[in-house]
Every structure is written in C-alpha cells, then in structure tokens.
C-alpha cells in the first residue's frame, strides 16, 4: 500500500498527540490533591504540556496525563506547595525473581 506524503513536508497541527511518551522514563509525577492550590505553575513549566488544571469533585487541581508524562521531574521541582511527588513506576518496583 502506498503511504501518503504531504509534499513540502507540511505538517498539520497536533501530530504529537499520536506519540504517547508516557512509557518513557522510570518515574511519573503524582499530584497530592489536598496540597494542590491550582496555582498553574506546573502547568506552565511542564515541557510536554501534559499537566492541566481541571475541576475534580468541586476542587480545581493539577492533573498529570500519564499518557505523555516522561517523568522529567520539572513539575515536582517547581511546585511551591510540595504537592507533586515523583514515584517509581510499578514495573521498576517488582522484586528480583
């Protein structure tokens, strides 16, 4: 089957949504909803744009999309409220056979 080739290497927007980068890295960031003030600093700093402040159960909190989170830790280091922790993925926690 022939592939489709946009001449001029013209790229349409939002292509990167197809590339799920969440399995990169060994850690993911997790937000403590109690401590989160929805200040949006992490949202601004996330290099992959995969943190979004959303309303959950009546409270605005930062939500990390683990489909894309590469575990870089920038959000955890910029959070002024200690609300974001980096945690080792389950896969890396399993003990040796």
């Amino acid at each position: 089957m022939k592939i489709r080739l946009n001449i001029g290497a013209i790229s349409e927007p939002l292509q990167s949504e197809q590339f799920k980068t969440g399995d990169w890295g060994t850690e993911w960031s997790f937000v403590d909803r109690e401590k989160c003030t929805a200040c949006r600093v992490c949202e601004q700093f996330c290099p992959d744009g995969c943190i979004e402040v959303k309303e959950i159960e009546g409270k605005e909190v930062a939500v990390v999309d683990h489909n894309y989170c590469k575990g870089c830790g920038v959000c955890a280091s910029v959070c002024r409220y200690g609300a974001i922790k980096m945690e080792l993925k389950e896969l890396f926690k399993v003990d040796v056979c």
Partner: protein, 185 residues
Amino acid sequence: MLIEVRFHGRGGQGVVTAADFLAIAGFKEGYYTLSFPTFGAEKRGSPVASFLRISDEPIVVRDEIYNPDYVVVLDPSIFEAVNVTSGLKESGMLIANYPKSSEDLKAFLKTNSKVLTINATKIAMKILGRPTTNTTMVGAFAGATGLFKLETLKETAEEFFEGPLKERNVLAIEEAYRYMKEVCR
C-alpha cells in the same frame, strides 16, 4: 568469526555507552570491534538502539544489525514499544533487564532463542543510585556469554569513567557478571 550484538533501551540509560564500552573491552581482548548507535533520538526516555560487532578480522561493514547473535535489553518497559527479538538468531540469546524470570519473558516474547533476565534496575539503583543500567548489563552480557573476562571489563571501566562513578560502575559490572555466571552454571 563475527559476533553481532544489538542493544535496546531508552535515551539516558546508556545504551550507546554499553556498546561503546564493549567495543573498547573487545579490542583489549584482541578482537577487532565496531560500535555505533542509531542516531537522532538523543532524547532522554525515547527508545534507542546501538550496535556492536566483534570479529577476529578487520570489520568493514557498517550497516545496522538485522540478524544479531545477541540482543541486550536495558529497559524492562520497552518490550511493548519495540520488537527486540526481530531477526535474533535461533541459536542466539536475549539478555534483558527484567524484574521477572527468564521463563516469563521467554513466554511473553514467544521466542525460540535463549532468554536470560536480570533485575539490572534494582542493582543500578542500589549501587549507582539511579536507573542507569548500562554497566550492569555490560557485566550481565559478559557473564552470560563468556566473551569477556571480568578483569578486562574492570580495566576498561578504569579508563572509561572518571571520579566516584568509576568505582561504583566497577561494582555494578562485577555484581551483574557474577549473577549471570551463577545463573548460567
């Protein structure tokens, strides 16, 4: 004799370094060696591969390795993203950083080749304090294949690394080497 090895892992784990390290060690063992990476994906976390050829004659071919004798996997989460056993010879061997048993991985990959696993992330976290599994897997590869003497690897590490990294990497290599020697006994 020509031995072809393919390394899989993710940017930042030292996939390229692993092949380079063994190219230097192989030369010390008296072989001609050539190592090179797949290029461009110098992004931490993205899947990368690198290649190693070891031969008793000068190596002239520089194409990527499609039918490896050995595959070394540095990252346990890569099996769904990359077909690591692609082209692996039936007589060949897969040596993987994987927290479960060799049988588990062999069944998961549905391969006829020999499979050996080691929890390299755990060893690396314990000794290096970070999940950089290259030296651990270098030790595991040498232990499993018997292609390199432990002494040669240590000597290479002495030259290759600087500062406190040197000693810790030697320890990681040694622990993995001995573990694999034990498994293969």
